[in-house]
């Protein structure tokens, strides 16, 4: 009881009062009740989505505390072409090496959880003999932890399995706590933890169809809006069946998007939408770009995320103005790149660009500008393509394999001093021109920013023409492009469809649904909280298109002899 109370209290602390409003029952009592093992897992598995690295880390921090160290290499989730990592997570497997890494991380985590510093938080009961198994005490420890890790109560079989594992290990190791460590390690490499297993149940409102069950809804809400495991309030709401009630679902989601923890979720969404994994590979030629260093590289994604969350959450700003806002944040590392003063020696401080800086929102930041450049030169083509694909969700075909890039790569050719001239020469080939006319008129407007996003007026002593054009609209420079993006109907459509994809784990196929979502988004003044609230609460988000199966498919934790008989289909 004490242990449950402490665990629940620890998780409850993570939930804000607002989030707790829909779960007025005290967390201790609720947790204790909810931790009771379920007879079996009901429902039909309709999707399995592998936890991202951030979701794994956030879950560990939320469940065990931020001082529990997570160290190891995470096997990346492959991003499907033109889709989000959230969609890739539905198809992500774990290689043997990846599982070894997860296992190593699990053992380190488990050892910390049951070390002298933390044990009392998670294991309040004392075994009859510290050197031997104690099934009763082990169950008291493992059942609540399993509930948080698997994001649902353990089944009877599962609880028995892990208690048995703890007991066997305790006997061999001569230590009750070592047994707990092994059992917890096993939980941490279980598919039930490493994957969000989405289950569906018959939809009473639509006979013959399925809807996601309460437990799945709790996890999806938590992962979508907070990028972490569901907290006590959500688990309790799920256990009480409240998340299939539209009004209570809306109350829960509203509380979550109003919480400061929504920032963590929003950061994860935009890191996915804006392809932030590319920052891991960002490298620049130090001779060409002496201002670019490791500190700059690390600050770039953070600057973009701070700008996004400040504009969309702190200022409750219009999403479209993310492409025009002059507000951002600076560090000492970034100051030299932008050639601006930074007062604070450490940390971040707000900064506002002037109207003549030509830096418009996200596309005027060194993060975007350097990410979509080559290591030694800018690239109007890469920038234009990124704007089309990432910000407007307009896929651009890949270049053919036999393209001659000589003209665009020769940046020191005095006869072709600017990128515009070089690209014009390159595009005399009609095979190339077809795609370049989609990307280059957009990207050329950002040519006053070099390959790391530093300002320049000329290239090879030739003045830079920053005129641009997009979808028939002509403009000048980054500010002009930002305005064009903010006025384009495609940018809010793109973020709305990405939000839906992020929630569901696959790109939306229902255009009418996206249109309705965008309409609501517009009605809210393009407020990001309203968009995510809508995505989280629209019934279509929770409907399942998978066919209803005759028998539930599940894997039992029972002994191998009985497994074959209990595995469906």
């Amino acid at each position: 009881m004490k242990r449950s109370a402490k665990l629940a209290a620890a998780l409850a602390l993570l939930a804000l009062p607002a989030a707790m409003a829909f779960a007025p029952v005290g967390p201790a009592a609720g947790a204790d009740t909810a931790a009771a093992p379920a007879p079996a897992q009901a429902g039909q598995i309709v999707a399995m989505r592998r936890l991202t690295e951030a979701q794994y880390r956030n879950s560990i921090a939320d469940i065990f505390g931020p001082d529990i160290r997570v160290s190891g290499r995470f096997e990346p989730i492959v991003r499907p072409v033109h889709e989000m990592i959230a969609s890739g997570a539905r198809r992500a497997s774990i290689s043997p090496t990846g599982l070894e890494n997860f296992d190593a991380m699990a053992r380190v985590i488990a050892a910390q959880v049951f070390d002298a510093q933390h044990r009392a938080l998670f294991a309040p009961c004392a075994p009859a003999d510290a050197k031997t198994a104690d099934d009763r005490c082990a169950a008291q420890v493992l059942a609540p932890l399993g509930r948080y890790l698997f994001r649902r109560p353990l089944t009877l079989d599962e609880q028995a399995f892990y208690v048995r594992m703890a007991g066997a290990a305790a006997g061999k190791a001569g230590s009750f706590d070592k047994g707990l460590e092994l059992a917890l390690s096993a939980m941490l490499v279980s598919p039930n933890f490493l994957y969000v297993i989405e289950r569906a149940e018959p939809d009473p409102a639509n006979p013959g169809q399925l809807r996601l069950d309460n437990g799945t809804r709790a996890t999806r809400l938590a992962m979508m809006l907070w990028n972490s495991a569901p907290n006590e309030a959500l688990l309790k709401a799920a256990a009480e069946g409240r998340l299939t009630d539209q009004k209570q679902l809306e109350a829960a989601a509203a509380a979550m998007v109003s919480s400061p923890r929504f920032e963590q979720g929003l950061r994860a969404f935009f890191a996915d939408m804006l392809l932030f994994e590319k920052f891991d590979e960002l490298a620049k030629d130090p001779v060409v770009y002496p201002y670019f260093n490791q500190d700059v590289a690390q600050a770039l994604p953070e600057q973009t995320l701070r700008t996004i969350t400040d504009h969309l959450l702190t200022r409750n700003g219009d999403y479209r103005q993310l492409f025009t806002t002059s507000h951002t944040f600076m560090t000492r590392a970034l100051g030299p790149v932008y050639q601006v003063p930074v007062h604070r020696a450490k940390g971040w401080e707000p900064y506002e660009f002037g109207p003549r800086d030509d830096r418009a929102g996200l596309i005027g930041q060194a993060g975007f500008l350097s990410l979509y450049s080559h290591s030694g030169r800018s690239s109007p083509t890469l920038r234009g393509r990124a704007i089309r694909e990432v910000l407007m969700c307009q896929p651009v075909p890949n270049p053919p394999g036999n393209v001659n890039f000589t003209a665009v790569q020769d940046v020191h050719n005095k006869a072709m001093p600017t990128a515009r001239i070089r690209l014009t020469a390159h595009n005399t080939d009609p095979v190339c021109a077809g795609c370049h006319k989609i990307t280059d008129p957009v990207g050329l407007s950002l040519e006053r920013f070099d390959g790391i996003g530093a300002w320049r007026a000329s290239e090879n002593d030739a003045p830079i023409d920053a005129g641009g054009m997009m979808d028939g609209v002509k403009f000048e420079g980054g500010a002009g492009l930002g305005k064009a993006l903010s006025e384009s109907p495609d940018t809010p459509i793109c973020v709305a469809s990405r939000a839906l994809e992020y929630a569901v784990g696959k790109p939306p196929e229902d255009e009418a649904l996206v249109e309705r979502l965008v309409g609501d988004f517009a009605g809210s003044g393009y407020a990001i909280r309203a968009l995510f609230l809508k995505v989280a609460t629209m019934p279509e988000t929770w409907r399942v298109t998978a066919p209803v199966l005759d028998n539930a498919t599940h894997v039992s934790f029972a002994a191998p002899a009985t497994m074959a008989g209990r595995t469906g289909r």
Partner: protein
């Protein structure tokens, strides 16, 4: 910082590689000065710089040290021997004996050594600069009554009355002069110290109305704990931000000056700046702290069209300060680098020309010059002395 201001500095930054070489050391001649086209100062009259180079200037010309560089202890020991003995000891088979004997001269009684206790040793005079040419400032021109008699230099640009007796004493040492066209360890080492950020110096100018002529400019010459931003070759990059610190061991000097024909000159005042020494190794002296200490110190800095500053810091250094580094290094300075600290100190005292002790009548400090270069930076003053928000970070 206004948009206009930032843009102006961006232009300057773009021009930066063009600068430096033109007036690398001394003040420009009138003809050169007239060729410098200076931009308007910032609207708020506040400018910041980070010192990118602070090196004792050496005039590389053949008449400076006609006998060659100052002998290292081993060579001095051999030179002091009769010819026959010198020849014997120079033979390879007697190398061990030679090493033992010359190294013995570095030690005194009771565990003392020639660099930790240089006063205890009496050494022969060292070679000094023989030519009349040196970089530096005229430190003693109006009303200096606490100086000692000395011969003055003329600068390579023809400016007479240059006071730089430190160069006279140290200018023929291998550490200063270098060899075979390679600059001395002094230049290389000091560049590394500044690039490492261990003793970064900044300049904050206030009240600048014109880069050509201004009768009253406040100059804050100070240390900062912030590291400079450098490229892969160690070149300082403009546009970084720094915050001044006056917390020990760091220093903040408030000077006053004027600008004439694009040259900023400060009135004499004592200037103190931090130094941190150490090169690592088994006898690690890293972290030992001393100070630049310039009595009656002054700056003469020339604004360049590329936004940089070049010029000179001059003043009188307490004589022992000149051998601070080998002194801290202790016997290792003598045994490894062959530096005869006692010889240096005795010669420095001989040529000391400033800060005369009224009791003894002897000068205790020696005129000195440091060649300075600085690149534009955003410099934040210490909070207590800061201007209103928005005006603190300037360059």
């Amino acid at each position: 910082m206004t948009d206009t201001l930032r843009r102006r500095f961006r232009r300057l930054a773009a021009l930066l590689p063009l600068g430096g070489a033109l007036f690398a050391i001394g003040p420009a001649t009138d003809a050169q000065q007239s060729a410098i086209r200076l931009p308007d100062p910032p609207a708020n009259g506040v400018m910041g710089f980070v010192i990118s180079e602070a090196i004792p200037p050496v005039v590389q010309e053949p008449t400076a040290c006609p006998q060659g560089t100052v002998l290292k202890m081993r060579d001095q020991f051999l030179a002091d021997q009769p010819a026959e003995e010198r020849a014997r000891l120079s033979k390879p088979e007697n190398e061990a004996e030679l090493v033992r004997k010359w190294q013995a001269t570095a030690f005194g009684p009771n565990g003392t050594n020639i660099c930790s206790q240089p006063d205890l040793f009496s050494r022969p005079a060292m070679r000094t600069v023989q030519s009349r040419m040196a970089w530096g400032l005229d430190l003693d021109k109006p009303g200096a009554d606490d100086t000692c008699e000395h011969a003055e230099f003329t600068s390579p640009h023809g400016e007479s009355g240059i006071d730089n007796q430190e160069y006279r004493v140290m200018g023929c040492t291998l550490e200063w002069r270098g060899t075979d066209g390679i600059k001395g360890d002094q230049a290389v080492g000091l560049r590394q110290f500044f690039a490492s950020g261990e003793w970064t110096q900044v300049l904050l100018l206030r009240g600048v109305d014109s880069l050509q002529h201004d009768e009253d400019v406040e100059v804050i010459y100070a240390n900062t704990p912030d590291r400079p931003v450098i490229d892969t070759t160690g070149r300082f990059l403009p546009g970084a931000s720094f915050t001044i610190s006056d917390k020990p061991p760091r220093e903040r000097n408030v000077l006053h000056g004027r600008i004439d024909n694009g040259v900023l000159t400060t009135t004499p005042a004592d200037i103190k700046l931090a130094q941190t020494w150490g090169q690592g190794g088994a006898r690690d002296i890293r972290g030992n702290r001393t100070r630049y200490d310039y009595r009656h110190g002054r700056l003469r800095l020339q604004f360049q069209s590329d936004g940089t500053l070049t010029g000179m810091l001059g003043g009188y250094k307490p004589v022992f300060d000149v051998i601070q580094s080998p002194g801290i290094g202790g016997v290792g300075s003598a045994l490894v680098a062959g530096i005869d600290c006692a010889q240096y100190l005795q010669t420095l005292r001989q040529y000391a020309d400033g800060v005369r002790d009224p009791k003894t009548g002897k000068c205790t400090a020696i005129s000195s010059a440091v060649q300075l270069a600085a690149v534009p930076a955003f410099v934040n003053d210490i909070p207590a002395a800061s201007a209103p928000a928005g005006g603190r970070a300037s360059r």
